[in-house]
């Protein structure tokens, strides 16, 4: 590689990328970098309430946007009534407090806000979370944190099946149990389950790390136990303490699960080798 100074010399493309690339999505002039050019500048001390009673998801989400447009940085959502698709698509810093429960696809496509939900949440909560923190005080449904890319997604109760399916980054923390197929096709990031994990944990995971404090029913294809290092323990202690999920007996008992990486070159395997892997 000596003498190669640019990616072009390595044979990579020279044409400019088209579409919504980093040049158009972000403004580097923003203090703190990488904020969306159209992100709202809000004041966390400016507080407002939205009553979801009798309103459609579109009306509630539009109202939240209007309030952020007018600089409100702390928004309290009242009477959500377990309705679907609330608090979605927020791409700037803000404090959102949900007093009650949310239904399906709650807090989807978030990039930046801090959200606290006092109740329970339904399926596909926190889907595609890119940055920020979301804390759910009670239980959550299946596909919690599906395809999330960044941020911290916390459920203090138990979650359903397929938690963190297709997770690409960030951290999922679960205070209770998780159901079957959690970490299915996980690609990056970390998942921490303080309680028990259902069957096929980490099935077909490409990468990433899963920590389980309780019992694991069984591991999925290509998920294998890893060594719990001092670095792991320090990270677990920090994260679990941060969200008040630290078990009384500490973190030494956690089991670490990683990808066996036998599936990485799956397409190149002979049929007989595939049988061995699967």
């Amino acid at each position: 590689m000596a003498g190669v100074s640019t990616s072009h010399e390595m044979g990579l493309h020279t044409e400019p990328l088209k579409g919504r690339d980093i040049k158009t999505m972000f403004t580097l002039e923003n203090e703190g970098g990488y904020g969306y050019a159209f992100a709202r500048d809000v004041d966390f001390n400016k507080r407002a309430e939205v009553d979801a009673e009798g309103k459609t998801a579109r009306e509630v989400n539009s109202k939240i946007r209007e309030l952020m447009d007018s600089g409100h940085g702390t928004i309290v959502l009242k009477n959500p009534g377990a309705a679907h698709s609330l608090v979605v698509g927020i791409l700037n810093r803000a404090n959102i407090i949900v007093e009650g429960s949310l239904g399906y696809f709650g807090c989807g496509l978030l990039d930046g806000p801090n959200v606290r939900v006092s109740g329970r949440v339904g399926w596909s909560f926190g889907e595609n979370l890119m940055a920020g923190t979301i804390v759910v005080e009670k239980n959550a449904g299946s596909t919690f944190g599906a395809a999330m890319r960044g941020g911290d997604l916390v459920c203090k109760g138990s979650v359903g099946s397929r938690t963190g399916i297709d997770q690409k980054g960030g951290t999922i923390l679960v205070g209770g149990d998780t159901g079957a197929f959690s970490g299915f096709m996980m690609q990056r990031g970390r998942m921490v389950v303080c309680g028990n994990a259902g069957k096929n944990l980490g099935d077909s995971m490409y990468d990433g790390t899963i920590y389980v404090g309780g019992e694991i029913k069984d591991l999925g294809v290509d998920a294998i136990p890893g060594e719990l290092t001092d670095l792991d323990k320090a990270w677990l202690t920090r994260k679990l303490t941060q969200y008040e999920l630290m078990p009384e007996k500490g973190v030494d008992h956690f089991t670490k699960i990683v990808a066996g990486k036998q599936l990485w070159s799956y397409d190149n395997l002979e049929p007989s080798e595939k049988k061995l892997v699967l």
Partner: protein, 311 residues
């Protein structure tokens, strides 16, 4: 997609008709094609409630002759009941084509059901001492209003809002399904049964009857077959998880029980709320919140989970 819901009171009764209506109306977006209820009132000693239909709703559009045909079919059912020794003590017309009879009968219920269904277009929706099974096209509000369920007092019930994916939009394919010929047993299902034809052929060889091509009916027939063999509801639900292939969450009610089973993949949703007085469960929490507006603790049952509650 379909939506299912169930409700059971552990200590006493409630306005189960209106509560199930509210729950199912909140699930309308999961299935607008048809709605069905299986609700349980006070058991009638020595009396059976017979719910049956002699035509589909869409048949009414087939011409003027159908109205005479419907009258004729009902008259033939009346004759059969009389011939078999069933005394009709009360007869109500829920719609032009669907009826509710209270009958006194201590003979062979299977024989009675078979003879009634020999009449063209006739299908028994349910027979029971406390079960009232109502299903028709439209949302929960429409069906409940049509059949006067608003003031129905009872202990438990299940219901279904259907999005037709596997078979026609008609009453025959609507849920709940009665577990012929067993008194007071009904089933609702959300999902797809992938070994339907294999299981159906096996059950038909055992002498079980199917009235539709809807895969969900299999669960009712399967439950009935197990009951015939003396298998308990809980055992039947547990066994079904291994024997039925596909994705499913389903609910079964008997005269005094409500049971649920979830498949090995936990692919179909179910949210559960339990208190000392009652248990409510539904495909989505919004259905439970339709009858309990304040904040509650709910959770999702896991894969292969089976639960049975007693009224």
């Amino acid at each position: 997609m379909c939506g299912i819901a169930g409700l059971i009171y552990r200590k006493g009764t409630s306005n189960i008709g209106q509560e199930m209506t509210d729950m199912l109306q909140a699930l309308k977006h999961r299935g607008p094609d048809s709605t069905g209820f299986a609700i349980y009132g006070k058991p009638t000693k020595g009396q059976h409630v017979l719910r049956f239909k002699v035509a589909e709703q869409e048949d009414l559009d087939s011409g003027l002759k159908i109205h005479d045909e419907i009258k004729d079919r009902r008259s033939r059912v009346d004759t059969i009941l009389k011939e078999l020794g069933a005394k009709v003590t009360k007869a109500e017309e829920a719609t032009e084509y669907a009826y509710r009879y209270e009958i006194q009968f201590d003979g062979d219920m299977k024989k009675l059901a078979d003879h009634v269904e020999d009449v063209e277009g006739a299908e028994i929706l349910s027979i029971g001492n406390s079960l009232e099974l109502i299903k028709d096209l439209g949302d929960a509000g429409v069906v409940s209003g049509q059949y006067g369920l608003g003031n129905f007092t009872g202990t438990h019930g299940i219901g279904h809002t259907r999005m037709a994916t596997e078979s026609d939009v008609d009453i025959r394919s609507a849920h709940p399904y009665w577990a012929y010929p067993y008194n007071d047993i009904a089933v609702v299902h959300n999902g797809q049964i992938t070994n339907y034809w294999l299981m159906r052929r096996q059950l038909e060889r055992e002498g079980q009857r199917f009235v539709s091509n809807c895969d969900s009916e299999l669960l009712a027939v399967y439950t009935a077959s197990n009951m015939e063999k003396g298998i308990s509801l809980e055992e039947s639900l547990t066994q079904s998880i291994q024997e039925i292939d596909g994705v499913f969450t389903y609910l079964v009610t008997t005269a005094d029980q409500l049971g649920m089973a979830k498949d090995t993949m936990a692919a179909k949703p179910m949210v559960l709320y339990e208190s000392d007085d009652m248990v409510a469960l539904a495909s989505e929490e919004v259905a439970i919140r339709a009858i309990i507006p304040h904040e509650i603790d709910t959770w999702d049952p896991y894969d292969e989970e089976v639960r049975v509650w007693q009224a």
